[in-house]
Structures are given as C-alpha cells and as structure tokens.
Amino acid sequence: MDWTLLLQLTLNGLIVGALYGVVAMSFVLIYKASQVVNFAQGEFLLVGAWVCWWLLTEWQLPFWAGFLVTLAFMTAFGLILQVVVLRPLIGEPVISVIMATIGLGIFFQALMKWIFGVFAKPFPPIFSTERVNVLGLEVQPVYLMSLGISILIMAGFAWFFTASKHGLAMRATAFDQQVAQSLGISVPKVFAMSWAISAVVSSVAGIVVGVVNGVSSALSFYGIKVFPAVILGGLDSVAGAVLGGLIVGVLENWAQYLDAGWLNWGNMVTIAPFYALILILLIKPYGLFGTKNIERV
C-alpha cells in the first residue's frame, strides 16, 4: 500500500468533491424551489467558464472585472432560461420538463463548441503555480483557492437559507407553493430567482475548474457527476448534496487508486460513481437520504 499516494488522492478527491458539492447544491436549489430536474446544470458551468475566458483573453479585462461581468451575465442567463423555456412548461409531466432541460443542455453545448471550438483553452495565469506543502503533501495553490471558494459558497448558501428573506421565501415555496402564495410570496419570482442563483453559483464552479484545467466541453460532465452526488445525498437536501459531492469525489479517486494498483480496467475514475448510483438505487429507490413520498389515490 502506498499511503502517501492514497492520501494525496483522497485530498484531490476532497477538492474535486467540494466542487461537485457546489454544483450539486445549485442543482438541488432548482429542484427544491421549482421541482425541475435540471439536466443542463453542466452547461451552466460551461457557459460561465467560456464567457469569463472570452472576457479575459479577447477583452483583456482584469480577472476581478471579468469575473463580475460573468456573474452578471449568468444572472440574466438563468432568468431568461427560466422565463422563456421553463415557465411555459409549468404543470407539464416530469418527463417533458426533464426533456426540455436535456434539450437545453445539448443546445448550449453545441453552441459553445460552435463559438469557441472543441479544444481546451487555458485561462491566463492568475495564481502562481509553485506547489505549497500542506501536511507533507504537495498541493497547487490553485486547488487551495478552489477549495476555499467552494467553502465560501457553501457558507453563503447556509446563510442565505437560514437568515435572508429571499432564502426563507424559497424554502417556503419548496415546502408548499399554495401556502407560500397565500403568505404573499411571488412564486414565479422565486422560480426565476432560483434559476439565476443556480446559474451564477454553477458558473463560479465552472470558472474555478477552467482556471485549474482549462476550459473545454469536458466541463459539462460535471453536470452529469451531479446525479450520483444527489442520489447519495438526497435530492431535496442542500447539506446532503455537499456530502454527496464529497463522497463522489473521494470515491472516484479511490476507484482510480484501486484501478491503477490491481484491477487495470482503466476509466474507473469516471464510471465508479455510476456503479455506486445503481447499487444505491437497487437498495433504496429514493436515494440514501431522500424523503420517501407517501402517495394516496
């Protein structure tokens, strides 16, 4: 057993897992508020990262300006998507809504490939690439920044849902739409807001991954990795999403360790979470921490 490697992989898993957690959180946000399963979550990362990249390289904006403009753009993007595409589908069956978000996903993925090409493009260097030593392990500062931003976003979410007025309105809407309406909460506004916040938060994750690995269409795969995470953590639990993301991140790195050392299957790093997902659904059809719906005729 190579303990240093295992520890290093675990740390990598936690860093990537924190990002999965952030994306899963913004996925859960949309699901909780508007009961829409967003299969286009990965494309939020993709669009945000490309827009930021474009502002930084073509317009030579400093990082903070490009970052803020991207956030503003993603707010508008999320709002427009909700109003134009998702609002007409309110009341349609689950399958239709799922399909609409899948359609959105492939539309924007192809659009980004059309505009920016298929090759990964690096961000201009923002952080020094010198490795720092944390507890005897070599870590790039970019990864530390990524972990820091993830924790910051999670703390922001925690504050938003427990203390802010809009967050409480969102939780009320998630609990019961009719009751929320009778309390004077504008449900359409809450829906639109959840999409805007989700798009913004996802795009931050996208920019972080872009800074670390370069921007390419591979980013949208984060949107698919969200599913194992939310199945692990429960679809309607924000804290569960973070936990699920961390578990998936560590799991895929351990799977890679197992794979490199003994199995030699290759590709386990991408597939292992899906095996875990099928296993969990076999045993618990509503996910590990999901609430079981009791239905009456």
Partner: protein, 354 residues
Amino acid sequence: MDLAPAGDYRSSYREDMTIFPTRNSRIAMWLGLALLCAAPLVLGRYELGLLINIGTLGIAALGLNILVGFTGQISIGHAAFFGFGAFASAWLHERWHIPVALCIPLAGAMTALVGLVFGAPAGRLKGLYLAIATLAAQFILEDFFARAQWFTGGVAGRITEPFALGSWVADREETYLYVVIAYVVVMYAAAANLMRTRDGRALVAVRDHYLSAEVMGINLAYYRTLSFGIASLYAGIGGALYAHYLLFVSVEAFNILFSIQFLGMVIIGGLGSVMGSLMGAAFMVLLPELVQAGADALSGSAIDRVLKLGASISFLREMAVGAAIILFLIFEPDGLAHRWRLIKAYWKLYPYSH
C-alpha cells in the same frame, strides 16, 4: 364510399380497438407499402439510405415509445441498448457463424435480456430516479463497449457481414431496403396489436395512474420490467439492422447524444402513438439534412464566412436537435401524430369545422 363518420359512433370494444377504422385506411396502408417497395426504382442510393435509417431508427424509437409513451417510464440510455444489439449481431455472426438473417432476431433477444437486467431495478423506480438510473446504464454500457474487446472489437470497432438469405445478398441500399421494410412492418404490427391485448392495456394503466392500476390487480414491477424488456428488444433489432446496413460498428457511435435523439424522436413524433414513432424518426433523420441544405445554400455568402457554417455543421445539427426538442415541448407537446390527427379532422369536418 367508406368514410369515417364525423363523430364518435362506436358502440363496441371491437370497433374501438380496431387498427383500421375504415376500408380506405387499410387500402391507404397497402398503397403506402407498395409505394415504398417501388422506391428503389425511382430514388437514388442516398435517398434510399435515408429511408433505411428512418426504418432502423424508427424500430428502436417505437421501443422507446412503448417505454416512455405507453408505460410512462423514461430511459436516457436507449442508444446503449441500440448499440448492444448492433454489437451482439456482429458478434453472433463472427464468433458462432450464425447466418445474419438469424443473428438479427437473436441480437434482439440478447438485448432484451440485458434490458431486463437493467430493468429489474427500474421496476421499483419511476420518473426522475429512473431517468438517473438509465443515465448511469448508458455510461456503464458505453464503458463496457470500449473495454470488451472480445465483444465489440474495442476501439477498432467491428466489421459486419451483409444480410443474406440463401443466395440473395442484401449488400446494397436497393436490396437492403426490403429487409428493413419487412422488419418495420412486423415490428409495428406487433406493437399496434400489443396495445390491444391485456398486457398493452396494463402498460397504459400503469402510465395513467400507477396506484389505481396496482389496486386493480396489475403487478407494477412486472409490467415496468416487461416494458423495459420490450423496449430493449426493439432497440436491439433496430441496432442489428443498423449494423448490417453500415457493415461497420464503432464503439463511439452510441453516446448519450444518440440516446437523446431517440427521446427527441419519441417526443416529436408523439408520446403514446405507434405511427408517431416513425414520424419522429423521419423528422430526426431529415432534420440534419435540412440543416445541411441550409448551410449549403448559404455557403460562400457573407453569413457563411462570418459564422463558419460549413466547418461547424455537426454542431449546427446538434443545436437543431436540441432546439427541435424544446420547441416541440413548448408549442406541440403532443407531437406530429397529434398534428396529423388535427389535419385529418380538419378535412373530415370541412367546410363545417366550426
């Protein structure tokens, strides 16, 4: 004249369940088939190739429609099963030297078995959880294709033999079209009749209200799993036909985008409509051609130079697929089959439609 009445005057179940409500509709079906059989005399190889694609994809789309449209289950992994059928048929022929004509139904049966394996957990899942589980199935099967060299030929892919029946070899579009037509007729007739049996009605009951269905004595897990098996059977046969048309199967072909295209066919054609599946398949096959034609028409113009249409035609096609799905969901959620019914109703009531 034998016309449909301008109202609903059916008074027995037998009349209600008939596939051809009038003699004319039966004649129209036979005429359409005869026209299709005469197509190789008129059309070129390229157009015949499109027809073959519509047929093979149409069979698989019908399977997905039985799952999604009739049973109300969703699958985002249909292309993986389609691919499994394609590889199974090629493998059966190469490894066990079974004649291709037998390989195709056998590949369908093998795919149905795999579908039942993935369908067993699906029997307990529904809606969103099922969508996620089938998404996982898509990635697991794709990974299996890339790894199982003995079965798929690995990255190199697998070369398949043309369809042969005795000394008659269907290795060109002109001849292979007849094989596809035969399969389309058999599979579509089977599906149309399935919906008239107890099992078919049970599937629809599960879709409409699964709790009531269960109360009425319908075994939910059994019918959900059965529906998954039937969908996989159709996907497998469609895939096998596809393999023996292209004569080469590559590992990368059966990705998630392909799965989404199948879902698109079902939605655009019309959920819960047998003939709609074929219309949806035709739409999905012809849509890229339309995009290509549009790009060709603009090639060389200023728009083309600015937007690089020619070089990025594959992305434009993907965008068209995504846009078509969204637009249909918003503006025509019942699909082309519903539009076709509206057109028929318009003529039936003309000129007194209001």
